[in-house]
């Protein structure tokens, strides 16, 4: 059941209505029933796998929680008589016990993910496992990563274990997030799901506005651009020069409109019920460097990688020691950077693999990791050049240049995940620098499947999007926070007729300009495939 289908809208409306209809204590039951109903309607054959991950994570979590409780109770009871060293020893022995359980749960949870998503074709080819009839479970990467975060947070004693398996099942399967995230953290989401929220008109309007904005980005912008991207990427040998760059540029806009549109729809539904899901985007194309970009793009995944891969690797004793011994050979700076460089590559290879098993995804990770590492290594050199050229690094012009530079790096990198293979991505990248002989550039672009009106619609809608983004960015700079609610709060302050005029205009735009495809079936969300 796609987010953009009429069935889903009816499903969501019934769910929200039922949520407020039942007594407050039972509202989480409505959410669980709706989430499992959604899963069974969307991916019935793979339902068993989400049940399995839920059960394994829940039981393992209870065990880790009991280890934490025992450890805390012992330390509290013997606080006075224990030395600092003894406390450390006791902690180490408790962690050893927990680590075994963490390893077991991760092997089981990620094992299911690996078999069904990554190794299915190899296993089938080797005749070891018949995955022919088996689909990849809906949202498997999202709920597996979310479950792993729960286990890591328990291991770090940051949260208490869930003691109600049905409630935990809701946390794992909450239907707005199952299609394409965000990957929520237990301490941020679970309590919001479990406590019944009382009806507030503001939640309903803000949620509906966010959904409308998501539909606008997905149906009007992303699905329209899809036509152009398909034409170039499916026939890449026919195009060179500017046409390839235009395709990459449009894909960069499409993936953002598609993914952030889907996330807005998900967050909007949740908000209608008073549930605030974590953000996944913070105007990423305004980033000044690639590190900042990954702090603004698919935030829930990049923060997952930061907390559970980057920090543990960068701060590990092993790489710390290795860095210290390298200081003698390569100097202090490189020695200090060494653990960070290793951690960057581990993080970006994971981000690459998260998208799929093909080498093009690993290449995508390596591309991003390498650009960031090169930036770190050459930072003093760049600073020196700026000083020599008397360029003020805090000037608006330099900051503007940084934004354009980062955007260009992102556009080039998009070739890897979108092209059919790593080889195709490389071919397309180099063909960008070959001249398009014969046919004028404009004529080529006008023959990529879109009419002049389509270009006009895309341009106009992107300008609206850009202006709203600038407004939000400005609000974040002045008032702090992420600025994501700034526009909706501004709308609240408008007179009622103006507010309704904007909403109706948005609704009309989606209805009239949305690309609904044959049989009114919108193109599937790109990130649903991950």
């Amino acid at each position: 059941m796609a987010f953009t289908s009429l069935y889903f809208l009816i499903f969501a409306i019934i769910c929200v209505a039922l949520y407020y209809f039942v007594p407050q204590n039972w509202r989480w039951v409505v959410l669980l029933a709706a989430s499992y109903a959604f899963y069974l309607l969307s991916s019935p054959k793979t339902f068993v796998f989400i049940l399995l991950t839920t059960a394994v994570t829940y039981l393992g979590g209870r065990y880790i929680g009991s280890c934490n409780a025992q450890h805390t109770a012992y330390i509290d009871a013997h606080k006075a008589e224990l030395s600092r060293e003894e406390k450390k020893e006791i902690k180490a022995s408790s962690q050893k016990k927990k680590r075994k359980m963490v390893a077991l749960i991760l092997v089981l949870d990620f094992g299911i993910l690996a078999v069904l998503k990554y190794f299915r074709y190899y296993l089938q080819a080797a005749g070891l496992f018949d995955t022919g009839e088996l689909l990849i479970p809906l949202g498997i990467s999202f709920y597996t990563f979310q479950s792993a975060a729960y286990i890591f947070d328990l291991y770090r004693n940051k949260i208490e274990p869930d003691t109600n398996v049905a409630k935990f099942a809701l946390f794992t399967a909450f239907f707005p997030q199952i299609v394409q995230g965000p990957i929520s953290r237990y301490d941020q989401l679970a309590h919001q799901l479990y406590e019944g929220h009382s009806f507030q008109f503001r939640n309903l309007t803000h949620g509906a506005q966010l959904m409308l904005w998501g539909f606008f980005k997905k149906l009007v912008i992303a699905d329209r651009i899809d036509i152009l991207c398909d034409q170039v990427f499916d026939n890449y040998t026919d195009y060179t020069g500017g046409a390839v760059f235009v395709a990459l540029l449009f894909y960069t806009i499409q993936i953002y409109a598609d993914f952030s549109g889907g996330i807005d729809i998900a967050r909007g539904i949740a908000q209608c019920m008073g549930i605030e899901m974590t953000h996944n985007f913070r105007r990423p194309y305004f980033s000044h460097d690639l590190s900042e970009f990954w702090n603004r793009w698919h935030i829930s995944l990049s923060h997952w990688c930061r907390d559970y891969i980057f920090y543990p690797v960068a701060m590990s004793k092993f790489f710390g020691k290795a860095g210290k011994s390298l200081r003698n050979v390569f100097g202090d700076r490189i020695g200090k950077l060494f653990p960070v460089i290793i951690a960057q590559y581990c993080t970006f290879i994971t981000i690459g693999l998260w998208h799929g098993a093909a080498f093009k995804y690993v290449a995508y990770g390596l591309y991003n990791g390498t650009v960031i590492v090169l930036g770190l290594l050459f930072e003093p050199l760049l600073r020196g050049i700026l000083e020599k050229l008397h360029i003020n690094a805090s000037s608006r012009a330099w900051k503007g240049f940084q934004i354009v530079r980062t955007f260009f790096i992102v556009v080039c990198g998009r070739a890897f995940p979108r092209a059919a293979s790593f080889g195709v991505a490389v071919t397309m990248f180099f063909s960008m620098f070959r001249l398009n002989h014969g046919v004028p550039f404009l004529e080529t672009v006008m023959n990529l499947g879109l009419t002049p009106l389509d270009f006009l619609i895309i341009g106009g809608c992107c300008i609206i999007w850009l202006l709203i983004s600038i407004y939000e960015e400005r609000d974040a700079r002045i008032n702090g926070g992420d600025g994501s609610k700034a526009f909706r709060e501004m709308m609240d302050r408008l007179p009622l007729p103006a507010r309704w005029a904007i909403l109706l205009a948005g609704f009309g735009l989606v209805l009239m300009l949305g690309i609904y495809g044959p049989g009114y079936d919108a193109a599937a969300f790109i990130y649903r495939g991950f």
Binding site: R84, R156, N157, K158, R282, S291, E292, N295, R306, D307, F310, Y311, P312, A314, M315, G320, K336, P339, V340, A343, L376, S394, G480, G481, D482
Partner: protein, 75 residues
């Protein structure tokens, strides 16, 4: 200790007003690379072991929170 912490912080990020900022993480002022550098310096300077478990926003949102974290790690 507060003065040393401030010195370390301005050495790593000279462009940030550490004296007045109280949402260094929440407002995305410090990035993960900064945090790793800060923790490395704290561990060396104050002979403590700040671990991954300590890397939560509450411990790094302000200078005072960081001083408190170091004090706890020394106990």
């Amino acid at each position: 200790m507060r003065e040393t912490v401030l010195e370390i912080l301005t050495g790593i990020r000279g462009d940030v007003d550490f004296e007045n900022e109280t949402k260094l993480i929440d407002d995305n002022i410090l990035a993960s690379l900064d945090i790793v550098a800060i923790v490395g310096e704290f561990n060396d300077e104050f002979d403590v072991e700040i671990s991954v478990e300590d890397l939560v926003p509450e411990n790094f949102n302000s200078v005072d929170a960081m001083v408190e974290l170091i004090t706890r790690a020394q106990e």
